[in-house]
Symmetry: C2
Subunit: 164 residues, 2 copies
């Protein structure tokens, strides 16, 4: 199984009058994310499902991926909101679904959570060794047997600038 | 400083009548590596120097990168031959050169050495958590101060298929 961790695009700055969860992608953030989505599509990637953080900037990013026909299915998950826990996502979201081995799942969320999730999958612990830019992505292959924690492998990490 | 670890392209199979160090890139390996080099150039990357393993398949890969004008300077280093040691490379090759902070160095070599070197830079130890395909590459940023071992960050890991 392959997991693609995708960070939301560039969003409005934090400001007192907008709730953090309501911040939208900027025009630049939207355009860049659209280009990234089109490039990913051109590379031949498709996802069985896109799961997104419920925050507006993540949801808008997921909508752009869906509009580029990278998946027919998408849903929100609170596991992907800031400070979400990968153990909870694995145990309460992924495991019950019993997906086949060749499933490709995109997760749209936030930093530093996504790169921490990647490190927990690869190494079993957080080392702060990965740089994941806005609209960038990480590709991870889970093992066929056994816990993915500390036993997964990374085959892709890219900033958006190399996908434009 | 940024280090780009580049694995040689697809080479001839091992066979009794050819020494391992003499194995050449295949036609497919050459063509794929040329496409990767052209794409990297288009992405705006350039290296201050390309350092290559002395083995034929690595040297031919470096020659393709030079032909794509990714660098004006290149040299061989036995540190990059199979089973080369990153500590030796850092202490006896990199440190004495005293390069400025913004230097970008490409290292052309072999697996499993390159992904091990990456993990030693990121984590201080080898975890076998990275997949580096032939003609694929890893981009790592070294810290400005202190030992790079366990203190570097990865910003790029790509298989060649996403650079064609």
């Amino acid at each position: 199984m392959e997991i693609y961790l995708i960070r939301h695009g560039i969003a409005e700055e934090r400001q007192p009058e907008i709730k953090d969860e309501e911040r939208s992608l900027t025009k630049e953030g939207r355009q860049k994310t659209e280009k990234v989505a089109q490039r990913i599509k051109k590379l031949g990637l498709e996802f069985n499902i896109i799961v997104t953080s419920p925050l507006v900037r993540a949801r808008q990013t997921a909508e752009i991926l869906v509009a580029a026909e990278l998946s027919n299915a998408w849903e929100e998950s609170t596991h992907l909101a800031p400070n979400g826990n990968i153990d909870s996502w694995l145990n309460y979201w992924l495991t019950p679904k019993n997906y086949p081995q060749n499933t490709q799942i995109a997760l749209v969320g936030h930093e530093p959570d996504l790169s921490s999730w990647a490190e927990i999958l690869l190494l079993g612990e957080v080392k702060h060794s990965l740089v994941l830019k806005k609209a960038g992505m990480i590709g991870i292959k889970l093992p066929e047997i056994g816990s993915p924690l500390g036993n997964s492998q990374m085959f892709w990490l890219t900033p958006p600038k190399y996908l434009l």
